[in-house]
């Protein structure tokens, strides 16, 4: 069971490291070949990518299903100065020989001597400070960070609103209202009113002149005056015997509404 876990972990680690290697390769390529065209954001992108991948690598290592790799020991079993095809293939031609020179470099676990020195220095410094002093330092660091964050966010907000003020006028609310009014009830559209009149004349006013010539004349045509003739044709629709076509319309509308129900 533990072996299975180990295997899985190793596979995950290998894939993560492969990804990391690829991004490093592309970054190096970018730096070497496109250095005159390179922009800072692009470099930042590459760094961000690398940092993300390192993060995932760390997560994999910290994962609960990962066995304690610390407890594992790697021992080279066979060292030979002969070329080894297998290793060549695995490392893409970078390590041709698994020999005495190569092994100490590749299998080392201790950091570089300089790094080791620095680490030792830091550890002794840290041990020297009293806990109170340490706490104070931590607090001041936190305060400085939050101040800086505040300043940045304020700056961002202000510049955004400044930009907005310039670009804001993509629409005009008065126009919106005017257009909606025009579509809804013809404010400013009707030819009866002089163009540009701001008066809110009710569009439903009768007698304000027929748009269609003879419309009022036609309205007076009593549809009821020849109901007898029309009766057979309008089967199913009882003709209202009213003098106004309005009632006929009302009846029609009632039919429509009834259909709607």
């Amino acid at each position: 069971r533990e072996e299975k876990q180990l295997e899985l972990t190793l596979e995950a680690l290998i894939s993560q490291v492969a990804d990391l290697k690829n991004s490093l390769v592309s970054f190096i390529y970018k730096l070497e070949n496109e250095y005159d065209r390179l922009t800072w954001p692009s470099v930042l992108d590459s760094f961000a990518l690398l940092s993300g991948q390192l993060n995932t690598l760390n997560k994999v290592l910290k994962h609960e299903k990962t066995p304690l790799l610390r407890n594992q020991v790697i021992i080279p079993l066979v060292l030979s100065p002969d070329r080894d095809e297998e290793i060549m293939r695995q490392t893409e031609g970078r390590v041709p020989v698994f020999s005495h020179e190569v092994v100490p470099d590749h299998l080392r676990t201790k950091p570089d001597p300089e790094v080791e020195e620095q680490e030792k220095q830091l550890i002794t410094d840290a041990a020297r400070i009293s806990p109170d002093g340490a706490q104070k330092q931590i607090q001041s660091l936190n305060k400085m960070c939050s101040n800086l964050l505040e300043k940045i966010s304020k700056e961002e907000r202000e510049s955004e609103s400044g930009g907005l003020r310039q670009n804001k006028q993509t629409f005009n609310p008065t126009d919106t209202n005017a257009l909606v009014a025009a579509v809804a009830f013809g404010k400013g559209l009707s030819n009866r009113r002089p163009p540009g009149s701001g008066g809110s004349v009710q569009s439903g006013q009768p007698g304000a002149g027929a748009i269609i010539a003879g419309a009022s004349g036609m309205q007076q045509v009593p549809m009821s005056s020849a109901p007898a003739q029309q009766q057979p044709m309008l089967a199913g629709v009882q003709m209202a015997q009213a003098g106004q076509p309005g009632k006929y319309i009302a009846y029609l509308i009632v039919i429509i509404k009834q259909e709607a129900r």
Partner: protein, 231 residues
């Protein structure tokens, strides 16, 4: 009375056809809400406007957000007919015809009063009835006693996203009645309308609309505008 009444025979012929068409049209025009005319359709809408100079960016954004790479343009002539009845408020019917597409039927629409519902609802909800008609619609309406109240020409683009329809158009005033060639723009802005026609009782729709409106936010501010408030 001197002038003879307008001949009634052809009119009645027309009337019957129109009526049948009317009833047929209703069944046909339904959005598949289970046959019949049962479910009241609701037109849910949000409105805003955009200035001419920002039109291009709005169209760009809509092209990205909506389905279909090819936005449709349209040029319509809309006439609004009123019938003054015994009731105080006139009955309004809107007739639209396409000026650039030849074989398209005329479109008759009835829009009810905005539904007084949840104040928090972000869209205007109105009952609506849409009917496709033949092209003797204006004559029919006039004979029935409707009078044309106003007309305008709308020219713009239509976008769709699922069941939502976004229309961006410019309204032109017609300078001489009946002559759709002499037109002038009503304002320097384009009207933007987001509407959905849905069977009654679907409030989920208005949430979708609000999300979409959010995406158009800095360019256009789509909101619920009650036309009665602007009277």
């Amino acid at each position: 009375m001197e002038a003879p009444p307008v001949t009634m025979m052809p009119v009645t012929g027309g009337t019957i056809n129109m009526m049948e068409y009317l009833l047929q049209g209703k069944a046909g025009g339904q959005r598949g809400a289970g046959g019949g005319w049962g479910a009241a359709e609701l037109c849910v809408s949000g409105t805003g406007s955009v200035l001419d100079q920002s039109l291009e960016s709005l169209l760009h954004r809509l092209r990205g957000l909506c389905d279909n790479m090819e936005p449709e343009t349209f040029l319509d002539h809309e006439m609004v007919f009123l019938l003054k009845g015994q009731q105080a408020s006139p009955f309004v019917l809107r007739a639209r015809r396409s000026m650039d597409k030849a074989a398209v039927p005329w479109h008759l629409r009835y829009l009810g009063q905005p539904e007084v519902g949840d104040k928090n609802r972000h869209a205007l909800v109105r009952n609506c009835v849409d009917i496709a008609t033949s092209d003797n619609l204006t004559d029919f309406l006039v004979e029935m006693g409707f009078r044309m109240d106003h007309e305008f020409v709308a020219k713009g683009h239509v976008f769709r996203k699922g069941i939502m329809k976004i229309v961006v158009y410019k309204i032109f005033r017609i300078l001489m009645p009946g002559n759709t060639e002499s037109i002038e723009p009503l304002s320097l802005s384009y009207l933007v309308e987001l509407n959905v026609v849905a069977p009654a009782g679907q409030d989920v729709v208005s949430d979708d609309m609000r999300n979409f409106a959010e995406q158009l936010k800095p360019l256009v501010h789509l909101e619920k505008i009650d036309p009665k408030r602007l009277m």
